[in-house]
């Protein structure tokens, strides 16, 4: 039986001067995409912003639920210029898994699920919407806070493709 869960590309930050990682020329050969990101930054509470196909318009929105050890909370973000790609950790690398369903479908908007585990302060789940019917051909993962904020060396980002029968 053919493999259905394949690594497409991996980037590991080694220079300490990387603010964003981008997967480009993503083929439409799969059904879903998964991003596994192990990410760290020198300060706690920084987000990995995710954009598709270089679209920086306000075509994204997301809803989250978080728990910080004391209470659970939920927040919604509308008409954003990015989707949610994960959190970075400060004391340790945060584990993030993003699932992007039917990414090459040209009929539906694109929705992603993210489980984010920034060990410093919270656990979280997100659903993000990109209001576009375009097939996703590139994904950019940018550390928030400006171009001089850099992922800690050792941060890694892997893109997988899953193919349904």
């Amino acid at each position: 039986m053919a493999k259905t869960y394949e690594p497409i590309a991996t980037t590991t930050v080694s220079n300490g001067t990387t603010n964003s990682v981008e997967f480009t020329s993503i083929s439409g050969n799969y059904t879903d995409l998964i991003i596994v990101a192990s990410a760290k930054y020198s300060s706690a509470g920084y987000v990995i912003e995710m954009t598709f196909n270089s679209d920086t318009g306000t075509n994204y929105s997301y809803t989250r639920i978080t728990g910080d050890g004391t209470s659970a909370a939920s927040t919604r973000f509308t008409s954003q210029s990015k989707a949610f790609g994960g959190w970075t950790g400060a004391s340790a690398f945060a584990a993030n898994v993003v699932q992007i369903m039917n990414y090459s479908n040209s009929t539906t908007y694109k929705t992603a699920l993210t489980r984010a585990n920034p060990v410093d302060d919270r656990v979280a789940a997100y659903v993000s919407l990109w209001r576009s019917t375009s097939a996703i051909t590139s994904i950019k993962l940018t550390l928030e806070g400006g171009a001089t904020n850099y992922y800690t060396s050792g941060s890694s980002f892997t893109l997988y493709g899953i193919k349904a029968a």
Binding site: T4, S61, T66, T107, Y109, A112, L113, R115, L129, T133
Partner: protein
Amino acid sequence: MSVSSVKTGATGISLLTGNAYYLPPDFESIATVSVGSGGTSSIDFTSIPSTYTHLQIKLLGRSNRSGGAVTDNWRIRFNSDTASNYTRHEMWGDGGGAYAYGAGNETSGSGASLSLSTTSSTSNNFGVAVIDILDYANTNKYKTTRGLGGTDNNGGGAVAISSSVWRSTSAVTSITLFGELGGTLQQYSHAALYGITA
């Protein structure tokens, strides 16, 4: 250890020396359903083999629930069991608060709550979910599932985690998925069943 090919005489570490390597997959596509025009009341996976350790279902869905709400719930049923053998727990956030719910002795489990969009959602907007069914073929355990799903409508929607137990030790051989509040899953809804080997 090296192995010699009786065909070519070549040696190598592969048991298929002289031929291409075969790497057994551990994540396999079992079946996929895409809902066509007119919709469907449920998505059914039948004749599921017991050759895997776990199952995973990936869902893209929209129901015909009307009335203004932009979310609906995926419900799940195993082996066509409609008796009160299911229990569920759910936790979700809708942008305004975080909530939890539990219920027992139900006739279906929680596949993934609040992860179907509806006719009140923006056009082209479909919710998504991932459901894991652990040890589905084990005849010594009740069957426990976990779900992660959500739908965002740029001003409405929710993200949720859920779990269910089906109080049966039977191996899961069929799965039925349906919308709880809307009777019809709409065109372009999509469900993919995968098997995971240990």
